[in-house]
């Protein structure tokens, strides 16, 4: 097992180096000049030249890359071209927002997806099964932005049940401690603010969680059907166990493997979906920030934030693979 983990860890290194080179090239090939972005169009050539020098942009590309990697190794992710704030601080203040959103979306998709899949598998080829199939088809066919806007229209604009956007009512002025809104409101001892933050979370979480919900439902249904006809399940029934016990102990135990793998794989999709979800719901998270950086040509933010995104994504995938190998010994030895 230890060998397997080391092998997988080593395999991520070339990916990260490759990505850093690609990103570096990409950022330096972007049309436009970062010094112009900082100084504006009316700066004199002399000021532009001195800023280029101080940013190190006058050096050859390979040297800039080496310097950049050196900075990365020391934990310096550079500064925003737009507001000169350090990228790492900016990232850390927004990351909790994205974590809160993706975790809520994951809880929603797992909490609804698994029971739906089990329900469909228990009554295959019936109208229940058909209804679940339609739900999962809609889940993968309705884009986040269509679902998000539709939810906003019905539940916020028409019925006024839930807030349209942002992470919390700004009038509540909660001090930022952890930047996790749900935790900060509790730390401030304001239960009414906690409820408000929770209400703000519902619509974005449903919008973001709809695709994983569909996929988890499908996989659960297929996995349960796969084992439901096994001999040991028939044996369990034959010896008179209750249907509930057969379901929990004999079917689900064996159906968990593919389901957990698929759940893990959804995290990457959730991070990608967060870009659009955060934009629709004016959610102050990393996705919206990276998108803003790309449209504003905020070079160093793009470069470093996408690298962090990739690092998170690779870490999650690695954990999923390790978990899978842990649950399924056949993988480890192949």
């Amino acid at each position: 097992m230890g060998k397997y983990i080391i092998r997988r860890l080593l395999a991520t290194i070339p990916v990260l180096i490759g990505l850093s080179i690609l990103l570096f090239a990409f950022v330096h090939l972007l049309p436009g000049d970062p010094t112009r972005a900082i100084l504006g169009q009316h700066a004199t050539p002399a000021t532009v030249a001195s800023l280029r020098e101080s940013l190190g942009l006058d050096k050859p590309l390979w040297e800039q890359y080496v310097i950049y990697m050196g900075q990365l190794a020391r934990g310096d992710l550079g500064h925003s071209v737009v507001n000169n704030k350090p990228v790492l601080t900016e990232f850390m203040t927004r990351f909790p927002g994205t974590v809160e959103l993706t975790v809520a979306a994951l809880i929603f998709s797992v909490g609804v997806g698994i029971p739906l899949g089990r329900l469909a598998a228990r009554h295959p080829q019936t109208w229940t099964d058909g209804a679940v199939t339609v739900i999962s088809l809609l889940g993968i066919s309705v884009p986040i932005f269509v679902l998000g806007l539709t939810l906003q229209f019905f539940l916020s604009v028409q019925l006024g049940w839930l807030p349209t956007s942002s992470r919390i009512d700004p009038r509540l002025s909660i001090p930022n401690v952890t930047n996790f809104m749900l935790i900060d409101t509790l730390l401030a001892g304001r239960p009414e603010a906690f409820v408000d933050a929770l209400k703000h979370l519902v619509l974005p979480a449903i919008a973001l969680g709809s695709i994983p919900l569909a996929i988890i439902t499908r996989i659960t249904r297929a996995a349960v059907l796969d084992v439901a006809n096994e001999d040991y399940v028939r044996t369990a029934r034959a010896k008179g166990l209750t249907e509930r016990r057969v379901d929990d102990r004999h079917i689900m135990r064996n159906a968990w493997l593919p389901v957990t793998t698929v759940i893990g794989l959804q995290v990457g999709g959730l991070l990608a979906g967060a870009v659009i979800t955060e934009t629709i719901f004016a959610w102050n998270g990393v996705g919206r920030w990276v998108f803003g950086a790309i449209t504003n040509r905020d070079y160093f933010v793009i470069q470093s934030s996408i690298l962090i995104f990739a690092l998170i994504f690779l870490t999650v995938n690695l954990l999923v693979d390790i978990g899978y190998a842990f649950l399924n010994p056949r993988i480890r030895y192949s």
């Binding site: 990916v15 080829q125 884009p143 906003q152 870009v275 996408i306 995104f309």
Partner: protein, 297 residues
């Protein structure tokens, strides 16, 4: 064995096989959901092709006196802020989605297919290097990759096509590589190789034809995602360069400001995207079940 058991193979043989695709087609025609998908796609393609004939109004020019009118006999789906007919714009929007979606998936197939074919047939170092490259592409969330490419190359239909193609490339590369690796030791491939067939002949004549079916299914399903991604880029303000162009995602962005007064501006383009995506998802699932009937339950 009873006599009933024996008679079964005889009956099957009587009907005969019409080859992989003939059999698949016959199964498709009995697959209800796949037929619904096919109908939706036909509708979508007809809307795109016949837009200039059916559209009652110009999709770009509108009369300001008509702006933000709800659905009526004169304007089936209502009008937008510039008084343009929403129904006509949705018909023309199908052209963009279809064009960009299909070209993007074909480009992704070409790029991913080449990578997958090289990796799967050469193996070894070539495989390792190419697959690390695919891992790099996969490590960036798809929509960010697409946004980045459009930001880099500038706004325009070819750029959007390339951006969406780049997000589908890793999928096709991995899929084809996987099937080819599985086929490398298959008896007929070993036989062809031992008869002295060249590497390329083995790849093109023997391995690729047997690895195509999962790729075709994946490409059909990828069309659904591509249409959604194209609209997503449009929604984020990275659609076609001319802001007047009728594109479903861009139309949705315009709707957000009038959610209260004109919710139909959200529903109709939203429904268009969803129906097109459902069409390709149903057809893709149907194709998969027809090509590999063991999958169907």
């Amino acid at each position: 064995m009873t006599s009933a058991d024996i008679s079964v193979p005889g009956r099957v043989a009587e009907r005969g096989s019409r080859g992989l695709w003939g059999d698949a087609m016959r199964r498709m025609l009995r697959n209800g959901p796949a037929l619904v998908g096919l109908a939706l796609i036909t509708l979508f393609v007809l809307a795109a092709l016949l837009a200039p004939v059916i559209a009652p109004y110009d999709p770009i020019a509108g009369a300001l006196v008509d702006r933000l009118k709800g659905p009526s006999g004169a304007h089936l789906f209502g009008t937008d802020l510039q008084g343009r007919d929403e129904f006509s714009r949705i018909l023309y929007g199908a052209q963009i989605s279809l064009q960009v979606g299909v070209v993007a998936v074909l480009m992704g197939l070409a790029m991913g297919g080449t990578i997958g074919a090289l990796a799967g047939s050469f193996g070894g170092k070539v495989d390792a290097v190419l697959m690390r490259f695919v891992d790099v592409l996969l490590s960036v969330p798809g929509i960010l990759l697409a946004i980045g490419i459009v930001a880099w190359l500038g706004r325009g239909l070819p750029q959007i096509m390339l951006a969406v193609a780049a997000t589908t490339t890793p999928l096709f590369a991995r899929l084809l590589r996987g099937s080819l690796l599985g086929l490398r030791e298959a008896d007929f491939v070993v036989a062809a190789r031992s008869l002295g067939a060249s590497r390329w002949r083995v790849l093109f004549r023997h391995m690729l034809p047997n690895a195509l079916t999962p790729l075709i299914v994946a490409a059909t399903l990828a069309l659904a995602t591509a249409i959604i991604d194209v609209a997503g880029l449009g929604f984020l303000g990275l659609g076609p360069p001319d802001p007047r162009t009728a594109e479903w995602g861009t139309m949705l962005t315009d709707s957000t400001r009038f959610l209260r007064q004109a919710p139909y501006l959200l529903f109709f383009p939203g429904a268009a995207i969803v129906l097109a995506a459902i069409g390709f998802n149903l057809l893709g699932d149907g194709l998969r079940e027809s090509l590999d009937p063991r999958l169907k339950r």
